[in-house]
């Protein structure tokens, strides 16, 4: 699908808590493994600096944010950049719904954390599929 716009994934850039790692790992799973041809990561740091190219990429695409805490930096920064958030996720919500998996580790997640990554990635995959289908209908 070379002509189709990719869905932009903006994950939390948290470095101090496991939930940030879960958000980022889920973004990698979607963009590198599950839906590599239909998705692309845009880093939050470029949006923080107001990078024009990053802002332009967001303006023309469907954007999915993946936050890692209640401060929802990714969603806030995307909105601040003037883009519409098509779907938003928070790794803490996935944990709340699956409390049997207690994530630990930041640089390297434990098995429970990896489970949450998989569950979150599944939800994002479904959102990507829905957005892609809607775009195909509109075309």
């Amino acid at each position: 699908m070379p002509d189709k716009k990719k869905v932009i994934i903006v994950p939390c850039s948290g470095v101090g808590k496991p939930f940030g790692t879960i958000s980022r790992e889920a973004a990698y799973q979607v963009t590198e493994e599950d839906r590599p041809e239909r998705t692309q990561i845009v880093p939050l740091s470029l949006l923080v600096l107001g990078d024009e190219e990053a802002r332009a990429a967001l303006a023309e695409a469907d954007v999915i944010t993946i936050d890692g805490c209640a401060l929802v930096c990714a969603s806030k920064m995307v909105a601040e950049s003037g883009a519409q958030v098509s779907a938003s996720f928070n790794s803490m919500d996935v944990y709340r719904a699956n409390r049997q998996y207690k994530p630990q580790g930041i640089s390297s997640l434990n098995e429970a954390g990896q489970k949450l990554v998989g569950l979150l990635a599944e939800q994002i995959d479904a959102a990507v599929d829905k957005l892609t289908a809607e775009e195909e209908q509109d075309a």
């Binding site: 994950p11 939390c12 850039s13 948290g14 470095v15 101090g16 808590k17 940030g20 980022r24 790992e25 973004a27 990698y28 799973q29 590198e32 692309q40 990561i41 845009v42 880093p43 939050l44 740091s45 470029l46 949006l47 923080v48 600096l49 990078d51 805490c69 209640a70 401060l71 929802v72 930096c73 990714a74 806030k76 920064m77 601040e80 580790g105 930041i106 640089s107």
Partner: protein
């Protein structure tokens, strides 16, 4: 008794999720925070300078900060400088690659051998910088090292070799907590005072009731963390006196 935060070094990492060098910078930051210098370092997420509150934006003024960036866009350094304060030091992974004549690393999610080597190298360099920065006296009032202080002009001792710990330690994250600040109306302007809530708490728990002597001590402590405009000295003193009296009355 609550303590004002002891001197630490802030580590701000590039988020650069789309580049392997971004992963290198993040993992290097975590290695310093979790293993090499867990008691001496604290971190904050880059977007919080914008998405967070005033306390988050005071981060790099409160702590001398090292920015670890993945590429020469230097988002961590520039954003810290733009929204908080100029970092005390910086590391750029692409510079390390150039200096050591290495190939670019591959794998954003799972780094290759070069990437893992760079994580170790960048973390060791950052740990050295932490030691160097802790050997100097940081002025929270000025948000920089005071050049008039003789300690800051001495050559630093040889860098300590980073010690890797066997046990995993959680990185100290400042997200959401920030540095407590309080706004006061001074001379018709709303001014923010870094650490004022903690200073009040400390004084009240020491049973230091509002008095001229207490106010002198309060002002000395407030000056450690804030720059007070000499022209507004009297108004600032009056505003802090009123705020502390109100705080004291609430507690007692």
């Amino acid at each position: 008794m609550p303590e004002l935060k002891q001197k630490k070094v802030g580590i701000v990492s590039c988020s650069g999720e789309e580049l392997p060098e971004g992963t290198v910078s993040r993992l290097a930051a975590l290695k310093v925070l979790e293993e090499l210098r867990p008691d001496e370092t604290v971190t904050i997420c880059l977007p919080l300078f914008l998405a967070g509150g005033e306390g988050d934006r005071a981060f790099a003024k409160f702590y001398p900060t090292i920015a670890i960036d993945g590429c020469n866009q230097r988002c961590a350094y520039r954003a810290t400088e733009m929204y908080s304060n100029t970092p005390a030091a910086g590391i750029v992974i692409t510079d390390l690659i150039k200096d050591e004549k290495l190939e670019r690393p591959t794998g954003c999610r799972h780094l290759d051998g070069i990437g893992n080597y760079l994580v170790e190298a960048a973390a060791a360099k950052a740990a050295e910088q932490v030691d160097e920065l802790l050997g100097k006296r940081w002025s929270r009032q000025q948000g920089r090292f005071d050049k008039a202080d003789s300690v800051n002009t001495q050559e630093t001792a040889e860098s300590a070799v980073p010690q890797t710990m066997d046990v995993s330690v959680q990185a100290t994250c400042s997200c959401g907590s920030g540095i407590p600040t309080q706004k006061l109306s001074v001379g018709g302007k709303d001014l923010s005072f870094v650490a004022l809530p903690l200073i009040f708490q400390n004084f009240a728990e020491d049973q230091r009731s509002p008095s001229a002597q207490t106010l002198d001590a309060l002002m000395d402590t407030v000056r450690l963390y804030n720059s007070i405009d000499p022209e507004l000295e009297a108004e600032t003193r009056a505003a802090i006196e009123a705020a502390y009296q109100a705080y004291w009355a609430d507690r007692n």
